[in-house]
Amino acid sequence: MSANALPAEFQLLTPYLAWALPTERERTHRRLNASMEEMKAFYEAAMPQVEAIVDYLDKGGVQPVPESNRPLMNLALALVEISNIVELYKRADRFDGMHPSRFVSYE
């Protein structure tokens, strides 16, 4: 398995691998540049896998997450990042807040 690949069990999610970004800053940036359709498609593909993803990640441990599991963990974190848009706000541009680029995050 290459450094940026998902385990065989989660090949279905490979089309969304570009979301597997290691920092919140990068995940937010990607969210801000994604269309609603793209986020919905990612959400619908990933949501049914969440339980299996968590079980898989737990087998490798998370303190820290081993290198080979990082793409999967980062993909799951990106699902979290977009979930509010899909589940609650329903619009990619609903946001009535300060532009997130001014909310500078540090891991």
Partner: protein, 398 residues
């Protein structure tokens, strides 16, 4: 079953001496008043500048720019394990000693101008070409210490060398309420820094009430807390201390978490979850005067903490620092659930931050010169009174 009373105007009845009239806004936009705050508040109060877990090892240090106090502070854990604070200023000709944000001192800190060298306890240990100075007394030329003390892992400094109030006395009711709380069982998952064009008090005020929740946060968190008639917020409790305050809410039992939030809640299997039994409600908002907020959240499985530090740069310019502290996740469900809560709250704080600037611009226009405060906004009223008690009342400017 919630215990929040739905009666109106409870807090004015609890604190009748505070009054109920409007609050003047000139202090939020006056450059003169800001200079008074600088001298009479920030240079005389205990200010939270970090946590002990930022420098767990001997010789580790961090630097905190305190622009509002016109200084830069070096916090260092000495070889003896003790944490000390110093002005980050070289004893030779005043150069900034440490030019970066944090680091590990190999035993000595060296100024990059002429290599004067200080040990981890701030003593001047080496001066190049010392023989060519005219009677230099190295023992008197250590770094200038700053009063530094620690409460529950939070490091505070006080720039008033003549001050005698201990940190413990200063923290007063906040300390009494939260002493022994398991802050040390949490670790920082994320920090946000927001550079905003707003007065520091405007930014604090916008956070220091829950009234706006169903309105400003109508998409993000409209009904997270108990509501009267399913419409308006009601506080569970309010406590005013010598300078500080806390308001508390209960969660709305009818609140529905989103599908992913519900799923991650079920998959969150943290062992030994820390609990903050010191909490008053399900959500407590402690304002530690002048510029720190400690938010305590009761969670389904574990409790967590968010802190704010508001650092004024000018009357209309503030850095808002936000830090999320969670129990270290020992499983993936907990880790993702934490990120879920973090993103959800972050989005509401971005709404708040936008409001800080919009409100400041509104006040700056002087179209209105007063805040009208309802009963649940009592902590804003108290905060402005404490500011005025320190910095003095301001006559309305033309």
């Amino acid at each position: 079953m919630t215990k929040t009373l739905m009666t109106d105007k409870r807090w004015a009845a609890k604190y009748p001496w505070l009054g109920t009239g409007p609050v003047a806004t000139e202090s939020c936009i006056s450059p003169d008043y800001f200079e008074r705050e600088r001298t009479l508040i920030f240079r005389r109060s205990w200010l939270n500048v970090g946590r002990v877990d930022e420098i767990p090892e001997r010789g580790q240090y961090f630097v905190r720019e305190l622009a509002v106090c016109h200084t830069s502070i070096l916090i260092m854990r000495g070889k003896d394990g003790k944490i000390r604070g110093f002005h980050n200023v070289c004893a030779h000709r005043g150069n900034r000693l440490v030019p970066h944000e944090r680091g590990q001192c190999p035993g000595k800190l060296m100024c990059n101008f002429h290599f004067w060298t200080f040990d981890t306890e701030g003593k001047l240990s080496w001066v190049p070409d010392e023989e060519n100075f005219h009677g230099l007394d190295k023992s008197k030329l250590g770094l200038t210490p700053v009063r530094t003390d620690i409460w529950e892992g939070f490091i505070f400094v006080n720039l008033d060398d003549a001050g005698t109030e201990s940190l413990e006395d200063y923290l007063d009711g906040v300390g009494k309420q939260l002493n022994g709380a398991p802050f040390g069982k949490l670790s920082r998952l994320r920090t946000f820094k927001v550079d905003e064009r707003a007065n520091w008090k405007v930014a604090i005020d916008a956070q220091n009430e829950i009234y706006h929740l169903p309105f400003q946060h109508r998409f993000t968190f409209p009904d997270a807390f108990v509501l009267k008639d399913n419409r308006y917020t009601r506080l569970f409790d309010v406590n005013l201390y010598k300078r500080h305050s806390v308001w508390s809410c209960e969660y709305n039992p009818d609140y529905k978490v989103s599908p992913l939030g519900a799923l991650l809640g079920r998959l969150d299997r943290l062992k030994d979850p820390p609990r903050f039994t010191q909490m008053i409600g399900d959500f407590d908002f402690f304002l530690v005067f002048p510029n720190m907020v400690i938010l305590l959240f009761k969670g389904a499985a574990w409790d967590f903490v968010v802190t704010y530090n508001f650092w004024p740069l000018a009357v209309d310019h503030t850095i808002w620092e936000i830090r999320y502290y969670y129990p270290p996740a020992d499983n993936a469900g907990t880790r993702l659930n934490q990120e879920y809560g973090l993103c959800r709250l972050r989005d509401t704080l971005q709404e708040d931050a936008k409001a800080h600037e919009a409100i400041h611009a509104g006040l700056r226009s002087r179209a209105k010169r007063e805040l009208q405060l309802q009963d649940d906004e009592i902590c804003i009223r108290y905060f402005h009174k404490v500011v005025d008690d320190h910095a003095g009342l301001l006559e309305a400017a033309e």
